[in-house]
Every structure is written in C-alpha cells, then in structure tokens.
C-alpha cells in the first residue's frame, strides 16, 4: 500500500467549468435521436375508463415506414388494433387505436427512426381505472 493518491479531480474551478459545458451540451447530444416529448395516456399515470387510442409525441420528425407502437396487457397479450401510424399532419406524432380496455396495467412499446436515420426504442406503463 505504498501507493499515493496523487490527484483527485475535485478542483472547484474544473468542476464548475466542465459542469457548465455538460449542461449546455447534453440536450444537443440527446436530440440527435428522437425521444418522446409527452404521451396520452401520460407515462406511469392512470386514466379513468378506456382510452380510444395511445399517442406519443416525439421531439423530432419520425419516419412513418420504420416507426411502430403496440400496447400489451399485464399478460403480454396485444390489445391494440394494429393500426399504428404516424399522423400525416404532425410527423412527430405516433398513434395506435385500442379496443375497449378493462381496468388494469398496460405497457406501451414503441420503436421509431428519426430523420437522422437513428433508431430509438422504449416502453412505458399506464393504468386503466374503472370509469
């Protein structure tokens, strides 16, 4: 244990300068791909009564041909109507209609390709409460 700790990068000036750059740069890096901006139903929230469709708005234009969305119940059974599409009027919006959903937890799984050609994917939960 002759080793000596020579330098720990905790210098306040260095941290301050680099943290500022990190804060300024990270949003730009992330925006190179398409990520969800918001959704309906909201991520992790409950809705009273079955929604008629699930919609996700992304932070950039997505490619209709390569973008998919599906909804599954707690058993993994698919409950959407299989009509996933990108709204031609708003090419940041991916949506799919669903059958009348009984109360319970559901999971939305999506995959999109942004205009820069990069794919992103993800899933999120929501819950249907009795009306």
């Amino acid at each position: 244990m002759d080793a000596v700790l020579r330098r720990v990068g905790s210098d306040a000036a260095a941290v301050a300068s680099t943290m500022l750059l990190v804060v300024l740069w990270l949003p730009g890096s992330a925006m190179a791909h398409a990520f969800p901006d918001h959704s309906d139903p909201r991520v992790g929230h409950s809705v009273r009564g079955s929604p008629s469709q699930v919609r996700i708005w992304f932070d950039g234009v997505i490619e209709p041909v390569f973008s998919t969305i599906k909804v599954e119940d707690a058993t993994g059974k698919r409950v959407d109507r299989g009509d996933a599409h990108v709204d031609p009027e708003d090419t940041t919006l991916l949506e799919v209609s669903v059958a009348s959903l009984p109360a319970g937890p559901y999971e939305v799984e999506w995959s999109v390709v942004a205009r820069d050609g990069h794919r992103t994917e993800g899933k999120f939960p929501f819950r249907v409460e009795p009306p």
Binding site: V8, G9, V22, L26, H38, G44, G122, P125
Partner: protein
Amino acid sequence: MRDVLRPSGLALLAAVLGITSFVAFADAHGVVGQRFFPATLTIDDPFVADELSLPTVQVVRRKKGADSPPTWDTEIDAELSKRLSRRFGISLAGSLAIEDPKGGPTIAGFDNMHVAAKYVFIQDAARELLVSGGLEADVGGTGQARVEAESFSTLVPQIFFGKGLGDVPASMRFLKPLAVTGAIGIAIPTKEHTVTRTVADDAVDVERELNPRVLEWGFSLQYNLQYLQSFVEDIGLEAPLNRMIPVVRVVASVQASYGSDGTSS
C-alpha cells in the same frame, strides 16, 4: 534532425479540423436499448461514436508548490472520434495548454497528440449494459517542450463500462433513471526514466527522473430526467428540465510503480 521531423501542435490541430469537414452529419451515440449514456468530459465514454468534441475547456488553479508559484492551467482540447464498425472506433485528440503563473510570463503550447482505439465487448439492451476495452497512446515528441510535453510515449490500456438501472423492480421505479459509467486503466510510459545531463564546473550532473506507471480511474453517476419522463413516470417537467441529465463525476489517479529517482555526479 528530430526537431525538423516533429510535427507542430498547430499542424495536428489543423489536421483534426480538416478531417471534421468530412463528418458534417456525425452525431452523438451512446444509446443502449432505451438508455442514453451522455458523453462526459473527463471520463471517456464506454461506447464508440462518430463525434467531434470542440472545444473542451478545462481551467484548474494549481496551488503554490515548493519551487513554483500558484498557476492557472487552462487546457483547450479537440477530439475527433470515428466508428469503423458498430463496435469498433478510433479517435484522435489534440490539446492546447496555457500556463499562467502568478508573477511570471504566460506559457502556451501544444501538448502531445493522443490516438486511441476502442472495442465494445458487451452491449446488452435489456440490462442497459455496455462494456468496452481500449488502448490510448500519448504520442511522445508530438507536443512542445515549453509546456512539458513528454519526449516519450505513454500507452494506456483501459476498460470502460456503463450500466443503467432500468431493470430494477417497479417498486424502486425512481431508481430506474440512474446510471453509472466509468473507466479504469494504467498509464505505462515507454521510457522508465528520463535522464538529464548538465555540465557545470567541469563536472557532469546526471539526473534520473522516474516516469511512473499510473493507475487512472473514474466514474460518473447520472440521473436521466428524460428517462424518468419518457419511461418511468411523467412528473410534469417542462423543457429544458425534461432533457437534462445531472452528472456527478469522480476522477483520480494513483501512482502504481516506484523506482530509483536520483542525482549523481
């Protein structure tokens, strides 16, 4: 002869800038499954990328030493990274160092050029896990002596990792946006000692300075608010908060080898 052949730091930086004109559409990567690992400035990323970092500025105040006054050290870096396949990438970096000692003249010059290669061994989307290995070389003699650029090369084999906590149980869902990235490596100088000979009063002083091996490590903790909003629970954050990733970084190095330092006449 060696001075004639030595490329100047300015030329290296110009080369970096020239190459970047061919990568106008390069962008950041670091997405594994639904996890986005952002690039951090002092810890190298676990992923390979088409990426230009220009400039990265670091300002550090060095305290007064036994033989040196307090000094402001400024480092302006540029790095170009290029993927050659999905898992293999290379990078080239240059650095302008500016030393501003209290009561003394400011010294500026280019440090040695860095070249590196990296390969991603594990990329597991379900576990949000990345593990890669790489070799970095500080190429001796490519920088300028006035900023103490070494005349010898240093090789740094490294292991990098990134792990998101997206796979923790739903009962701990607010931990899911958390991720850790890190790197560990050992800097191995290609020359164990630097020998300096000076002639004074008809005597030759020989000074041997040890170039130690240094264990370098660091990690970052990240809480991804975008991940929270998009995949766990929409808590109503608005832009720009819903795109931010607060990062805490720890970087350290430990001298890992010892030898004989000394002066003889």
